[in-house]
């Protein structure tokens, strides 16, 4: 069974807040849900499928379904960290194609900024039953130094430079200047990235994404419903998901699970990376973008540093316009999870509703990709390919 053409993204909403000290996480989930439904021209009563992940408070989808008082035929709670929302777009399309629901709501929200979470520089608590816990907990692996190890190896193996990493941030900042909601709207230079404080060698502060409160939501519907709605239809034509781990101690940290999720999604969509007009690429760190761009097939493995340099990711001048909202590096990284905002900006591009300064001309095919958890140990990935009708 293919999901190609079986479901459409009808609603998309990114919460404008980046700092929400006076709201609860559940409240933010509900606000983004209502925002996406309003965008679609649907109501809460139309929702019969609910999809969420580890940021949703409560056991599985039940607490948030109760809070929003949803009446559901289908629910899905899948935890793949920041990749979850791109992955849930695929699951929503599958559920719709299988007749399990008609209107699927996907939500993300969180408040790491208000809660003072040391998102990247402190080890995250882990379940002692995780089988790797005895072998890792003493070493203080964090989000930042884990991704930094991948960058260090990529530099060693392929000659990637700090300046090439910096170009990813520079491109994101060129886009963020046009986003009134962006946390970091100032344009930065390669020199400024390299002069920012070292967090974990070789990643500087400006190689790291922002920590923000907020959230986002998507509404995925079957084609018959999409046809009745007023918003420009965004057809889901390919999805892929994958998990990569340390393979019992035999691994290459310069490759991510995108090397498997990408080809699966492209095969289902029946297109190639060269057909993509716009790409939302998860940018937890600058190195994340380079590795995923290679793995998704936009350039050869090891050539990502050269590919992203000299503004090649900047809309209007580069070959692969990416993260035109400013991405996680400059705009928003709600709940420390990036793939929701990745899908939302791809939807804006396909609708022709991105900021005019960054809107890609004739944007008919777009990709959104997310990576979740730890690139230096075990992670998940999800790719979504969408088409404007």
């Amino acid at each position: 069974m293919t999901i190609s053409g079986k479901a459409y993204i009808a609603g998309a909403f990114e919460h404008p807040t980046r700092h929400a000290p006076d709201k609860t996480v559940a409240q933010l989930h509900a606000e983004v849900a209502l925002g996406a439904l309003q965008d679609a021209g649907l109501t809460r009563q139309d929702v019969d499928g609910y999809f969420c992940s580890g940021d949703a408070p409560g056991p599985g989808p039940a607490s948030m379904a109760e809070y929003m008082n949803l009446k559901l035929r289908h629910a899905d709670y899948t935890e793949v960290g920041g990749a979850s929302y791109a992955l849930l777009v695929g699951h929503a399309a599958e559920a719709i194609a299988a007749g399990k629901c008609d209107v699927a709501l996907i939500t993300l929200a969180g408040r790491p900024r208000s809660e003072g979470m040391a998102t990247g520089t402190a080890p995250r608590p882990r379940d002692p039953n995780q089988p790797e816990a005895p072998w890792e907990a003493s070493y203080a692996i964090t989000t930042a130094n884990g991704y930094a190890m991948c960058a260090m190896r990529h530099m060693h193996q392929y000659g990637t430079t700090g300046a090439q990493l910096a170009w990813v941030k520079v491109a994101a900042s060129h886009h963020a200047q046009h986003n009134p909601h962006a946390m970091l709207p100032e344009v930065v230079t390669v020199e400024e990235v390299l002069a920012s404080p070292m967090i974990a060698d070789p990643l500087h502060r400006l190689d790291c994404c922002v920590i923000s409160d907020g959230g986002g939501a998507l509404v995925v519907v079957r084609p018959e419903i999409a046809k009745t709605l007023k918003r420009p239809p965004v057809k889901i034509i390919g999805t892929g998901e994958a998990v990569k781990h340390l393979t019992a101690g035999t691994f290459d940290l310069t490759t991510s699970a995108a090397a498997r999720s990408g080809p699966i999604a492209f095969a289902e969509a029946g297109i190639t990376p060269a057909d993509i007009k716009y790409a939302s690429i998860y940018d937890s760190f600058t190195i994340t973008v380079i590795i995923q761009i290679e793995d998704l097939g936009f350039c050869a493995k090891g050539a990502g540093g050269k590919f992203v340099a000299d503004g090649n990711l900047i809309s209007g001048t580069g070959k692969l316009p990416f993260n035109t909202d400013g991405g996680g590096l400059c705009n928003n990284h709600p709940a420390n999870r990036g793939s929701m905002t990745k899908v939302i900006e791809a939807v804006r591009q396909l609708r022709g509703e991105a900021h005019p300064a960054v809107q890609v001309k004739n944007c008919d095919l777009a990709l959104a990709h997310g990576t979740g958890f730890q690139l230096a140990t075990r992670h998940g990935a999800a790719t979504v390919i969408m088409e404007r009708e």
């Binding site: 089988p131 003493s138 101690g249 940290l253």
Partner: protein, 127 residues
């Protein structure tokens, strides 16, 4: 050593390793069915699914596969993956060294480090 280390979780699958560690012995899991060592240690071989896994003394020698010095903390430390002479690559820390001279491919040897009220854990220092 100033940095306080979180003690390892001792489980049914990790107990023998940390008992050996307490007496300064570095052992790794070896599958007698397929002849391969693996990491992290499991009771069931991740390569061939046999349960004929036994602990064998390891040389403690390895090379740095990759590393990163965490700078934005009170006490900087070096996280690393080290490839053991016996084959598998393991997550660890690099200690007893000038962080600024570390490089990928460098030879290192195991050195056990005390943890806060728990068993010592294997870390590595340049040789």
């Amino acid at each position: 050593m100033a940095r306080k280390l979180t003690p390892p979780v001792v489980t049914a699958e990790s107990k023998a390793f940390f008992e050996a560690a307490r007496s300064g012995r570095f052992v790794i899991p070896f599958c007698t069915a397929c002849g391969k060592a693996h990491w992290y240690p499991r009771a069931i071989c991740p390569f061939c699914a046999s349960d004929a896994v036994e602990w064998r003394p390891a040389s403690g020698n390895g090379t740095i596969y990759t590393f990163s010095v965490m700078r934005r903390v009170k006490e900087p430390y070096a996280i690393a993956h080290v490839t053991l002479a016996e084959g598998p690559t393991m997550l660890t820390n690099l200690v007893d060294c000038d962080f600024d001279t570390l490089r990928i491919g460098q030879a290192v040897a195991v050195v056990f480090q005390e943890t806060e009220g728990g068993a010592p854990v294997p870390m590595f220092k340049p040789v």
